[in-house]
Each structure stands twice: as structure tokens, then as C-alpha cells.
Symmetry: C2
Subunit: 370 residues, 2 copies
DNA sequence: GCTTTTTTTGCATGCGTATGCAATTTCTGG
DNA sequence: CCAGAAATTGCATACGCATGCAAAAAAAGC
């Protein structure tokens, strides 16, 4: 036994039933007339192999259809090159975009993405248990909140956690967010400059930092102009809830003449209700502003003025942060805040004069560069 | 050395820098005073372990924060319990939904999802190489096509392939689709019954089976009523292309009075152009029908008549098919076609009388059950 | 040509778990 | 209380690969 004389594979011949036997480095080694180590080295960038040997190995590998077994590699290197991504739900229109860009970014660095989603209502703990079993090198959390003890467990296991579009006070989690507070404030400035005095806010998930900051910024901006009391309703990022919230606002004794919704998803729903249930004209009767600047915001039917969530730079930052932590193998929490800008369209009344933030930066100017 | 007297972990004490040392079954075994095999068995449902032993083991595991290493398990069992999911892009509004439901379905059966996406333009081969290294138990392909040789490779490696919302003639791939042909035909019937005679089709990706079948059904239905020539433009499932296609159609000498777009995504874009660029009223001047019945189709602004893509049953079928093939470990291609129905709304003129398909089934009736 | 340095190679081992097998314990029935 | 059956347990091994180390080969220097 042993010599590979007859070991040629038969590409044709087999029926449609599988052998379920993957080619191993050992087999490639035999065929190439080298040791298994040589095969391993041929597939390891920067390893000590003669060019000629590598050629032989790669040729043999090609003939046999060999692919290194990532699982076995993980076992030794203690690096799976898998990032766990948790997105409880994908309703928000930005998430598909985030997912695409994230996958591309990770892929480029040789990482794969294990996705956990679709458990909107259920608890996330069992999911978390699964994640940990697969020895992910890092965890990216978007559209979900992780209870504090879970973060501890991650830290204990040495798994870096990056929160996306969410912040947490937990000392062991990093985060990437847009400048929610600033966004809220700029929207306040813009609406006040447009002559609005009766304002309302439609909240997303109340406990999320994102919602909290957007609202805080909005109120802060309004307060600068002496507006302390505003309408408030909860949309919870849900279609049905948001519609109810809109009805509540518009049916009030003193309905708002401008509404800021904490996300475009909700802003669009508010618009629908305003137009089709209350017959309101936008922006003549009511101005509506959103946050995120999703694709649909730019459609003529909506032409929604919205603060841009800078998805691409945010994803870049998240990937970068993740890589840093994986490589340093020390968990240091960094919080990155990416700036956005107000995309002014037609759903909110345009001010007559340029609008500036409190620090003087230009938010918008008539006939300006957009 | 050896006895575990002092081997208790210190939950407090360490700084924020990680140990990167995961607890192993061996350590749990020592702590519980049993063998490593016992630990393994305690975590294997149906294995031969005394209840008392299992308790001891689980207790020790809890104290140490032990989690079985899925990678090591994969190495032995030759089953990763990971399904590779390939979605080149997530633009189509149904995909996030598919992803959520798919994740939930797989999770429920103890499978995880390795997602490959975000390579719209690039070639998928390198991606495929990655997938295979992770020894996925199955491959689900949506919004992408796999070249024939890749399918062969999968078959050779014993990896079942299920195509979602796509078909292929390849003998080793299964597929789940909606009844595209039937959908196209029913839309034809409906539009003709509504009095339309100048029709047009906006195509998705020309070579995809989905597009092919929808168009074929549409033409077939029209032909039954003597309509052989229709307008045609390519939207390629892209926003920009679709807008261009719509302009082309509406600017023609004999513009259509009814347009069927091969997906809602495109139908909405056509609507936008019709209304805001050509000032057309819908459905008075032109009827527009889509396919997929995405969420936005139901918004009052669009009220898009659309053929329903039955996402939930399709995902169920896909998961089921996948599990079957994994368990039987034989690759037999099955093709499952899931029926849908026409969701009639306001974007297309309503016929005066009930509409029936050629086989007599009711498509729609005035004042009917929807 | 021979020694020294550098590069390349193979050997052996271990990563963390599952599992067949034989040894041991517990249970059952008389 | 004991023999036999059944349940439980531990031992040893294998899964596929990476890597430290020493041996071998090649290259360089004189």
C-alpha cells in the first residue's frame, strides 16, 4: 500500500450520491510527494516553503480539489476568522445596507460573518449561547441590546464587542454611532428657522441610546429658542405603533406644525398618515423630518428631509475597531462618533435665511449647495 | 501538580485584558471528578450518562463558564451545523424578510447561518472558495447565480445546494420558487379584464429564471386575448435602470396604458417616474402592477397591485428541503413551486366583472374578499 | 573543495471533542 | 445474597491542520 499510482480522482463516473469525504492535506501531500507540513505551509502566506515545492503542492491540491479545513485550522490557531453579527430585526431600511457593507469589509480582511437575526420577540440568550460555541473572534451588535452580564461573559471569554448604532455604558464594549445629539439639534435649528413653533417628536425604542440622544439633541436645540414643551408619542420603530402615534399627535387639540421622527422608517409612516388620513399637505400644513436618510427618503413621493446616517464610514469604523481589538487581544472600549449632515428636501418648510448651528457651522443656506 | 484544589476561577480581579483561554471539557471533567468523555456525554442529547453525573458536570460547567467548542465537534462529527447563505445584494425589499425568517428557521433546527453578501459587482468565485473552507453543511443561494462548475464542486464535496427564488437546470441543485409563470398570467388576465390593450413589461435581470417565467406567463396570458406585441424595457432590478426604462416606455409614440414590472422594487420606481416626471395619474392614465407584494406596496401612497411572493412558505420549503438533503446525505434535486395570489389594490384599474384564470379559478371579483 | 550560514523540509505533537470498546457499577429477579 | 442483565464510565484514539524543533539541503564565503 501507499504509493499514489492509482489515486487519480474520477471526475466522471459517480452518481448523484455523495461521498461526503473531503480531501485532506495528507492526501495532497502524498500526491505531491511531500509531507503534510509542506502542504500546510504552501497554504500559509509567509511560511517557509521553496517556490518549487509550493507549486507542486498547489498543483496536487488543484487536481484533488483540496481546500484547507477552516475548522481544523481554528482549533489550532484559536482564531476562527468569524465575526458574529447580531441584528434582532432587519426592518429598518438601513440594516440591509449595513449588512452588505459589513460583509464586504470583513470579507476583504479575510473574515466571515455568522449572522443572528429573526428573533425580534424572543430573548437573545439562547442565541448568545450558540454564538459562543462557534468561537467567534468578535461580536458586532446592531439593533439589539445585550444585557450587561452577557457583555461580561464576552469579556471573560476574550471576545471583543462592538456595538453599532447603539451605545452602552458598559466598560468593555466599544461602539460606533452617528452624531445623534448633533443631528437632533440641527433639525431643531432648521425647523425653528422655518418658523415652526408647535413641534413634536416621534420616539423610537425609548430605552435605546440612539433614540435618547436624538431626542435630547432636538429638545436642546429647541430650548435655545425658548421652546420647552413639545408633543411626544412613541412609534417604537414599528409601523403600527408609529401610525397610532401620528394619529394621536394630529388629532390633538393643538396639533404640531412640524414633526421630527426618530427614524426615516417612522417618518415615512407619519407622512402617510398625515396625507392620507388627515388630508394634510406637506410641508404647507405640516413639516416632517426624519433621521437616517434611507433610499426611499429621496423618492419624489416623499422627498423627506432627513439627517444622514453615514453608513459607509460607520461600517468602516466598526470593522477597523473590531480588527484593532482582535489583534491587540486586549479589550479596550473605544467610542467612535461619526458626523452626519442634514439632507434638505421638500418635506419641511425651507427657512428664508441660512441656518447655523450654535457653534456657527452652516446647516443650510437658501439656494445652497444642495 | 494536577489536583484542582486551587483551580477556582476569579470572577473579579482581572483587568480589562483578556486571557483568551477558553475552558475545555477536560477542565470541567477534573472539577466534576469525572472523565472528559462524561463531559462530552453530558452535553450530547441522548447519550449514555447517569442523571447524577450529568448534574455534576453541568454544575461544574456553569461554574467555569464552559461551552462546548463547535469547531472541535465539527472536526469529529463532520457536521458543522452551518448553512452558507449567499445573497449578492439585499436591495430587493424581500430579502431582509427572507433573511430573518431563514435565520429563525435554521436556528430552530440548531443550524447557524454564514452570510455572504455585498459583492454585487465582483465575481462570486473567491467567495465560494471561502464558503467551502468552512465546511458548510448546505448552501442556500438567493439573488445570485452559481456557475455550473461550482455546482459540480458542491456536489463533489457532498454539499447540498438549494436555490431560492431562482431555478436552474443543473441536475444537482434543488430550488424553491413562487409560481412566477402563473403570477404573470394572472396579471395579464387582470389587466386585460380591466380594459387595457397597450401593455408593457419592465424586465428584471434578463437571464434569471424568475424574470423569464414572469414575463413568459404574462405574454402567454396576453396572447390568449390576442395581444401579441407589448412594450418592453429592462430595469435590471436597479433603480437607475428602471427609471430609464420607464422614461423610455412613457415617452414612446404609443405609450402603454398598463405596465407590469417584474418586481415591486421596479414597479415603485416606475410609479414615481409616471407621476412625477410625466404627470400621469394612476390608475386613470396608466395602471401599474408589480410582483412580490413588499411592505411598501401596501402604503397608501402607492397602493400597488401586486402578485404576492409567499415568503414564509417559501422559506419553510427551503429549510425543509435543505434538512432533508443533509440528513439523507444524497443529493437529489427537488423543485418546489409555492403558489401566490394577486393582491389587488388601487394602482391598476379594476375590472367590472370577476376575473378568472384559464382553468376557471377566480383571480378577483368586484367587491370581493379583498 | 570545504566550512559556515541560510533556507527548506519532515517529524512529532497538540488543539478540543466524540465515540467504539472494554471495564466497572448498578439494577433486577430469584 | 448472588448471578445475570442493563446501565454507566473511562480509556484510547481519531478528526485535519499548524508549528517548534532538529535534520537535511542549498547557498554563500573563502
Amino acid at each position: 500500500m501507499s504509493v499514489d499510482g492509482g489515486g487519480v480522482p474520477r471526475p466522471e463516473g459517480g452518481p448523484a450520491t455523495t461521498t461526503r469525504h473531503a480531501v485532506t492535506a495528507e492526501e495532497v501531500a502524498r500526491r505531491a510527494g511531500v509531507s503534510q507540513s509542506a502542504v500546510s505551509r504552501a497554504f500559509t502566506p509567509g511560511a517557509s516553503v521553496a517556490a518549487k515545492t509550493r507549486e507542486k503542492v498547489l498543483a496536487a491540491a488543484r487536481e484533488l480539489g483540496y481546500r484547507p479545513n477552516a475548522m481544523a485550522r481554528t482549533l489550532i490557531t484559536n482564531r476562527s476568522r468569524i465575526i458574529g453579527v447580531v441584528m434582532a430585526y432587519l426592518d429598518n431600511l438601513i440594516y440591509p445596507d449595513v449588512l452588505e457593507k459589513l460583509a464586504a469589509g470583513l470579507q476583504q480582511r479575510g473574515y466571515q460573518m455568522l449572522l443572528f437575526t429573526g428573533f425580534k420577540d424572543r430573548h437573545s440568550d439562547p442565541v448568545f449561547e450558540q454564538i459562543m460555541q462557534y468561537r467567534v473572534d468578535g461580536l458586532l451588535l446592531a439593533s439589539t441590546t445585550l444585557s450587561s452580564d452577557l457583555s461580561d461573559e464576552c469579556a471573560a471569554a476574550g471576545v471583543p464587542v462592538v456595538m453599532f448604532n447603539r451605545m452602552t455604558e458598559h466598560p468593555l464594549c466599544s461602539s460606533v454611532t452617528s452624531d445623534n445629539r448633533n443631528g437632533g439639534r440641527q433639525i431643531a435649528e432648521f425647523l425653528v428657522a422655518g418658523g415652526h413653533r408647535r413641534l413634536a417628536y416621534v420616539a423610537g425604542v425609548a430605552i435605546s441610546s440612539t433614540n435618547r440622544d436624538r431626542e435630547a439633541g432636538f429638545r436642546e436645540g429647541l430650548l435655545r429658542h425658548g421652546i420647552g414643551k413639545i408633543g411626544h408619542a412613541e412609534g417604537n420603530l414599528e409601523l403600527a405603533d408609529t401610525r397610532a402615534a401620528a394619529r394621536e399627535l394630529f388629532a390633538a387639540d393643538e396639533p404640531p406644525d412640524a414633526v421630527f421622527a426618530g427614524s426615516d422608517h417612522m417618518a415615512l409612516a407619519v407622512m402617510e398618515v398625515a396625507r392620507h388620513e388627515f388630508g394634510l399637505r406637506i410641508p404647507e400644513d405640516v413639516s416632517i423630518v426624519g433621521y437616517d436618510d434611507v433610499g426611499a427618503a429621496g423618492w419624489p413621493s416623499f422627498s423627506l428631509t432627513s439627517f444622514t446616517l453615514p453608513v459607509a464610514p460607520m461600517v468602516d469604523a466598526a470593522v477597523e475597531l473590531m480588527m484593532e481589538q482582535i489583534e491587540s487581544s486586549s479589550i479596550l472600549s473605544h467610542h467612535r462618533v461619526v458626523p452626519g449632515r442634514l439632507a434638505v428636501r421638500g418635506s419641511a418648510r425651507l427657512p428664508r435665511r441660512p441656518v447655523r448651528d450654535r457653534d456657527g457651522t452652516l446647516i443650510w443656506a437658501p439656494g445652497g449647495t444642495e
